[in-house]
């Protein structure tokens, strides 16, 4: 009998200590492609979120509770995104999620977070459908593809004065969504595309497609997709002697674009739309300097991820760590972040988006164009 008592005591002790740990921390998931072909973006999300969490914890956490981050890998695959979202909600008991990266992952995962009453702030998913479904718990600190498409289309039609535009996409939620958004605005300006084609994600040979683009004599190629396909595509265009301007969206914002393309000479002159330089906000100056002093360049989505974590922390802090109340609160309150003051509309989109054109140069770096 004494044995049973000891065992019971041990079990209750273990349960109590587990509960104590769970109470002491605010668990926040960082979901994105931490492995796979798009792992570079997962790394960007993790760096931003990790630094933000460390900074918030150093200042006493959220209402005295420490943030505990959980890495959730969706490999940019919808199926895995759903299972990882279930894991975050059920076994990790996360109250909020920073992520996911790919729109095709964010959309299915968001329904699971909604059911569980978990707050979701994505730093990067730009497909309009994500917020158009009206889920109360979903927010993004980046723009939308229709806004991004608008900027690209007006640049192509207005500034470039293009006559023959070929539109290529990767048949994925993000890539095709972006290509369609650009196409809609361009058509509204009265310019019809000369070619509209999809390519297969994961392939590397686009020579046949490139020859086809050549056959329609395009002067601009607009690509909706990610850098791992954009790199080989632009390289094979140049190798076949096609000098058309290559324009894409925020899916190629990574140094890896250069290595995947083979050399900086191929990305020279490539244009893309991306939010106004996320490192240029006065409020984020200190954080950017800290990143650089640690030898990390806050490229691409690093600052966005930092911002998303700040949004999560402020909303939870103002609502006693209740994610449902925090979601409601975010729709009507402003948050100060390292990327300036952010305000969300009823759908969870930013009130103000700030897409501008960027250009890659012969050194394999990108910079904002002065326009």
């Amino acid at each position: 009998m004494s044995k049973a008592v000891v065992r019971k005591t041990l079990i209750s002790l273990a349960v109590a200590s587990a509960a104590a740990v769970a109470q002491a921390d605010v668990v926040i998931g960082v979901a994105g492609p931490h492995t796979g072909a798009y792992a570079a973006f997962g790394e960007q999300l993790w760096r931003g979120a990790e630094k933000a969490a460390m900074d918030i914890n150093a200042k006493g956490g959220i209402n005295g509770e420490m943030i505990k981050l959980v890495k959730a890998d969706d490999a940019c695959e919808p199926k895995q995104a759903v299972s990882i979202a279930n894991r975050l909600v059920d076994s990790d008991e996360a109250v909020a999620v920073v992520g996911h990266f790919c729109s095709s992952s964010s959309i299915p995962a968001s329904s699971i977070y909604e059911e569980a009453g978990v707050l979701m702030v994505t730093p990067a998913s730009t497909n309009p459908t994500l917020t158009d479904r009206g889920l109360p718990n979903v927010f993004r600190v980046c723009g939308r593809d229709d806004q991004q498409g608008d900027v690209a289309a007006s640049y192509i039609v207005g500034d470039l004065g293009a006559k023959k535009v070929a539109i290529i996409h990767d048949k994925d939620t993000y890539g095709k969504g972006l290509a369609d958004a650009m196409k809609a605005t361009m058509n509204a300006y009265g310019l019809e595309e000369v070619l509209y084609e999809g390519l297969t994600r994961g392939e590397k040979d686009f020579n046949a497609l490139v020859t086809k683009i050549r056959s329609v004599d395009a002067d601009v190629v607009y690509f909706g997709g990610l850098h791992s396909e954009a790199g080989p595509l632009v390289r094979q265009m140049r190798e076949q002697g096609l000098t058309a301007k290559f324009i894409s969206g925020d899916g190629i914002v990574s140094d890896e674009f250069v290595s995947v393309a083979g050399s900086p000479e191929y990305v020279d002159g490539v244009l893309m739309t991306f939010g106004a330089d996320p490192t240029s906000y006065p409020a984020g100056k200190e954080v950017v300097e800290q990143f650089r002093s640690e030898g990390i360049e806050p490229e691409g989505y690093v600052m966005y991820s930092y911002t998303a974590m700040q949004v999560v922390a402020s909303a939870l802090g103002a609502n006693d760590l209740d994610p449902v109340a925090a979601s409601e609160w975010l729709h009507s309150n402003k948050v100060d972040t390292v990327m300036g003051t952010k305000q969300f509309d009823d759908k969870g989109d930013l009130l103000v988006s700030d897409y501008v054109m960027y250009e890659w140069d012969a050194n394999g770096k990108y910079s904002m164009m002065d326009n």
């Binding site: 492995t35 020859t211 080989p232 890896e256």
Partner: protein, 303 residues
């Protein structure tokens, strides 16, 4: 006109590479009647080896294209061949006398092991190699032009040279004769004093070497790869092997070229969205009329 010619060049280079990889599928099937699903991943491993070889050679100050390319080819082919040998030894030989299904599962397991092992040891990020050979020749055709990079010419040359050497080995050498004998009747061959286990090993090594040749060529041409590249190209090469008649060496080469050409022409002239649909429809149609592929021999039920 220039566009069609350019598409023929695109298709031919892609197809010759499919053919090289298809050889590995078809030889293994021919000799032990199994489909080596890890073959695409052997190709993937050779992409990484290519990058390693180039990094090593440039580190030791060898910069000229011929030295790098031959150094890389030798290194990659030897090491990938070793991979082929080990894979057969570890995953297939212990199952030599079990059912076909066990070997198939073992092959799928091997494929996953290779992918994950490379992902963990080399990282999940996209990798790239610098461009070694630049420049192109340009023919004016009518109003337009056909542009072929020197790299593409080199691929065509190397791929067909590789196929030629292999055909010579299989048709004219003692090793080739033993391979063919083992393929026709393994029991009889072993009664006649052929070490069939060794022949099977050497077939895996030859298949891996051909995949390595393809890996070097493609990696140098496209410059980008990751741990997952073996999957799509493996499926395509397997399709090419079946199209040409699995088990037949010339069939694999022919199947590769046909598949490459049909993909390029369909993508170029009709729609790139549906090129894979077209390729697989073509496969279905050919299999309806020729169930054993273009050059395959109908399987005779052994009693």
């Amino acid at each position: 006109m220039d566009i069609v010619l350019q598409q023929l060049v695109n298709g031919l280079t892609l197809g010759s590479v499919y053919g090289l990889i298809a050889i590995g599928y078809t030889m293994v099937y021919g000799i032990i009647g199994m489909i080596n699903f890890a073959h695409g991943d052997v190709y993937m491993v050779s992409s990484y080896l290519t990058a390693i070889a180039i990094a090593l050679l440039t580190f030791f100050g060898m910069e000229s294209f011929p030295i790098i390319i031959f150094g890389t080819l030798i290194f990659t082919i030897v090491v990938t061949g070793a991979y082929g040998w080990v894979i057969e030894r570890v995953a297939y030989r212990p199952l030599r006398n079990s059912s076909r299904l066990s070997v198939l599962i073992s092959a799928i397991g091997m494929s996953l092991i290779l992918q994950n092992y490379v992902q963990i040891s080399q990282g999940a990020r996209q990798q790239g190699v610098p461009t070694l050979l630049t420049g192109a020749i340009r023919f004016d055709v009518g109003d337009g032009f056909v542009q072929i990079t020197y790299m593409k010419l080199f691929i065509l040359f190397a791929a067909f040279l590789g196929m030629g050497v292999l055909t010579y080995i299989i048709q004219k050498t003692k090793l080739g004769r033993m391979c063919r004998a083992t393929q026709q009747d393994r029991k009889m061959a072993s009664i006649l004093g052929i070490n069939t286990d060794r022949i099977i090993s050497s077939v895996f090594v030859i298949g891996a070497a051909m995949a390595a040749l393809a890996g070097v060529l493609i990696t140098l041409d496209y410059g980008a790869f990751d741990f997952y590249v073996g999957f799509i190209i493996g499926i395509k090469a397997f399709t090419a092997a079946v199209l040409g008649g699995i088990g037949s060496l010339p069939g694999a080469m022919l199947g590769g070229v046909i598949l490459g050409l049909s993909e390029a022409l369909f993508a170029g002239l009709i729609s790139s969205d549906y090129k894979d649909v077209f390729s697989f429809s073509l496969l279905v149609i050919i299999l309806i009329f020729r169930p054993s592929g273009l050059l395959g021999k109908p399987e005779v039920e052994k009693v």
